[in-house]
Symmetry: C2
């Protein structure tokens, strides 16, 4: 137990310093390492395995809904980036510029893609001729670069990994339906697979994506009450299509502009998983994406028959979950602490006494509840316990969000809440940028979203007293 | 049939102009599109699906052999690239340089990775402390950039996609064994999955990877007799470890340098598939990586019961292969040509007369052989026919290689063969760079590899007449 204590002590408590706790966890759980490239992270095998599991879930849902993967160039010529005015204004200040190829200075600078709307539009202009070519439902898995000043692993890095869907449709209605469909897929995966409750909503004009007509978002609340935007889905109308001269022959034989969407989820979601479910013992992973769902720790493994039985169980249980056996010569206490740090949802302990009784001990990571389970019931019990971990994580996160969500009718109430709490503040809003700026400058809050499920909190905007047009959620955000 | 003829005519015949045939195929089979970024290709859904299937085969073999995936930064600081002398000399002339982040000029240039040895070494220096930490068996899936002057889709592009494995070992023997293990995995996948016969061998010092002690390669012969290097595996000794100061505490408690390998296979292999198996009707895909293995084409589909039966078969056969039904209103002739162009290994035709007889027609893509198959035997016959296609493709490619492989004992014979044939020329070699240069300058040939399976063709080097130390294969290469 000395070993276990030693490891646990190395992490800062989340209540003492949440930011320090976060960086401790990403390092100790071996999710990332820092590199000498400023602001760029190395995603280590364990972090990469988490991302691969998230990718599989998303990619399967994309393919089920008719989307196809493509691979676009990494570079965007400056002239191409400039074709859509709002887009270039939003992104040009934060891109990396390639100016030399070998020893030769380029005649036109290339930026490393911060997002690929422009590249997709150029390609779509080549391949969309008729309404019969629509919809085009493409997605790309890649990394993108944004020249951020301050960075933190997963949450904000110069390079991050993501998928970016880019679709073209015959009508505005179809494009809007696609925007909603993909937002719903993101929300569904967050809630049902990652056990992260999210609020679906629309961004304000100030917070929407550069070049979009409207941006939809799913907002999650972290353990400390701050918000994390976890996935976005944009509707572009035909703005890019006009800028890139993409037309198709419509059913009426006349040229028309197609309607466009894009949508993305990134490695930021791993930051959300850490900060939603983690605790002072380290990471807690939702079973759906845990690289190891069940760790088998033999107890008194030098005793006859223990390792054999542990190996037999590892073989058997590989059929119902992702299982790993740790038969290293580290102590059981060290192993317990190690796999708690790594957030493995279930631990199976088996020693000589258990074998005598033909049972073993299962321990849940989320609440440390112990279960004595007959060996012949494991195939049945383990999937049930994994589901119980998922449900437990979701309930805990939802309760945290409910406890930290407040309603305010006046600006004084907003100010008081902003100064005394950390969480979501729901108000009404008139829709004016001036009031949104006042919230930011005087209360330190940014708008998270106008929820799709609207509430009537009052009649007027708390900032200006004018009639309200929407309910809105404010918070501090990662 | 008019439709079919029209499409087929659009491709240049491979015997008339092989290079033009190649670009016609990659475009018409919808594998790639060109972008406005010089030398960078867009991999379209069909090409991307081929690459994803290749990735799955490779990734499974890597994981079976204990390798783990990681994600490294896209950028390499100039000082890091310069740490290993031979390596920087090899790559610096062909990298893209980032010099600005937003509006700010960087104090140190960053290159876009052409390969990631330097980044892996920096990370390994952080995480390797003891012999207990070894081996480290990492792999990365990503794209890399090399500033090429002339480019062709898949064969040579500024940006290409690949996997790069980077491993560290306690001893030289273990590292050499890894180099061989990975070469064997590449060869195995080429021969058994992609139906491409390859020759395993060692590169000459002139042709080896920048910074490597030795480079192993698999060399394939294309339809036109030219060679394509299809995968490489490098042994580095401890050169990088010394340059990057990576040491571990050995079993003797003394600090030691680990021994290193790297190995890669890229989207070039898609070029190899096209040029090994393709014909004047377009692409021919080996079944293991074909996005569609069986295309169902209904004949007289407006007649009662035809589409219903075709859909029923598509549902049923999805269990034994990757199947697609084309129920569009294009003519059967157009569909036949379209899916031949796309290289689909098997076609199933079903019309009213077939349904009456409770049978259908299966047509192999590789040799157009037709089979009348009772509907209740399809689950049995289709996997057998897919295997027959694979075997047929392999045999044909092997025969081409055998027909185009020559042996020469004198330089006059070499010159004559180089002027009158296109293929592999096997000779003995003394090992001197001067003779290798003579082959290049006077005969236009480069060394492909010194085969692991050595042959005794004679006693002396045909260039200089000195005693030979090895047999070697020469050719012209993509």
């Amino acid at each position: 137990m000395a070993d276990q204590k030693k490891m646990v002590e190395e992490i800062t408590s989340m209540e003492v310093d949440f930011a320090k706790w976060y960086t401790d966890v990403v390092k100790k759980a071996e999710l990332v390492d820092y590199s000498s490239v400023r602001g760029c992270m190395i995603v280590r095998p364990y972090g990469c395995a988490v991302w691969e599991n998230i990718q599989k879930l998303l990619d399967a849902r994309f393919k089920e809904t008719g989307h196809e993967n493509v691979m676009m160039p990494l570079f965007i010529p400056e002239s191409l980036l400039q074709k859509e005015k709002d887009h270039v204004e939003g992104f040009a200040p934060e891109v990396a510029w390639v100016t030399y190829g070998g020893a030769e200075e380029l005649t036109e600078r290339l930026c490393v893609r911060p997002t690929s709307e422009t590249l997709f539009c150029e390609h779509y202009a080549h391949i969309i001729k008729s309404y019969r070519d629509l919809p085009k439902l493409y997605n790309q898995w890649c990394s993108v670069v944004r020249w951020e000043k301050t960075t933190r692993p997963f949450l904000r890095t110069m390079e991050f990994w993501w998928q970016e869907g880019h679709t073209m449709h015959e009508t505005a209605q179809e494009a809007i339906a696609e925007t909603e469909r993909m937002l719903n897929i993101y929300a569904d995966i967050c809630e049902h697979e990652l056990a992260i409750p999210v609020i679906k909503g629309k961004k304000t004009d100030k917070e929407k994506f550069a070049g979009a007509e409207s941006t939809y978002t799913i907002e999650a609340m972290m353990h400390d009450g701050k918000a994390l935007q976890s996935g976005t889905s944009h509707y572009f109308g035909d703005g890019f299509a006009r800028a890139f001269d993409i037309t198709f022959q419509g059913r009426d034989n006349k040229p028309q502009y197609p309607h466009q969407t894009s949508w993305g989820m990134s490695t930021r979601i791993i930051g959300a998983i850490i900060m939603t479910h983690g605790d002072d013992n380290g990471l807690v992973l939702p079973p759906a994406i845990a690289p190891i769902q069940l760790i088998i720790v033999p107890v008194a493994q030098h005793k006859e028959g223990v390792l054999e039985k542990a190996r037999e169980l590892a073989d058997r249980l590989g059929k119902v979950c992702r299982v790993q056996l740790d038969d290293s010569d580290n102590s059981p206490g060290w192993k317990f602490a190690q796999y708690e740090m790594k957030g493995v949802p279930l631990r199976l302990e088996i020693g000589p006494k258990d074998i005598e009784k033909n049972q073993c001990v299962l321990v849940r990571r989320d609440n440390r509840e112990k279960y004595f389970v007959p060996l012949d019931q494991l195939e049945e019990q383990i999937p049930q316990l994994l589901e119980a971990v998922r449900a437990g994580l979701y309930e805990k996160a939802l309760k945290n969000r409910e406890n930290r969500t407040y309603t305010a009718k006046t600006f004084e109430e907003v100010l008081h809440l902003a100064q005394t709490t950390s969480g979501f503040i729901k108000t009404m809003w008139c829709g004016d940028l001036a009031c949104e700026m006042k919230m930011k400058e005087e209360a330190g809050l940014t708008s998270r979203c106008m929820p799709l499920e609207q509430e009537k909190i009052g009649d007027v905007c708390p900032c200006c007293g004018k009639p309200a047009t929407t309910s809105i959620i404010w918070g501090r955000a990662y």
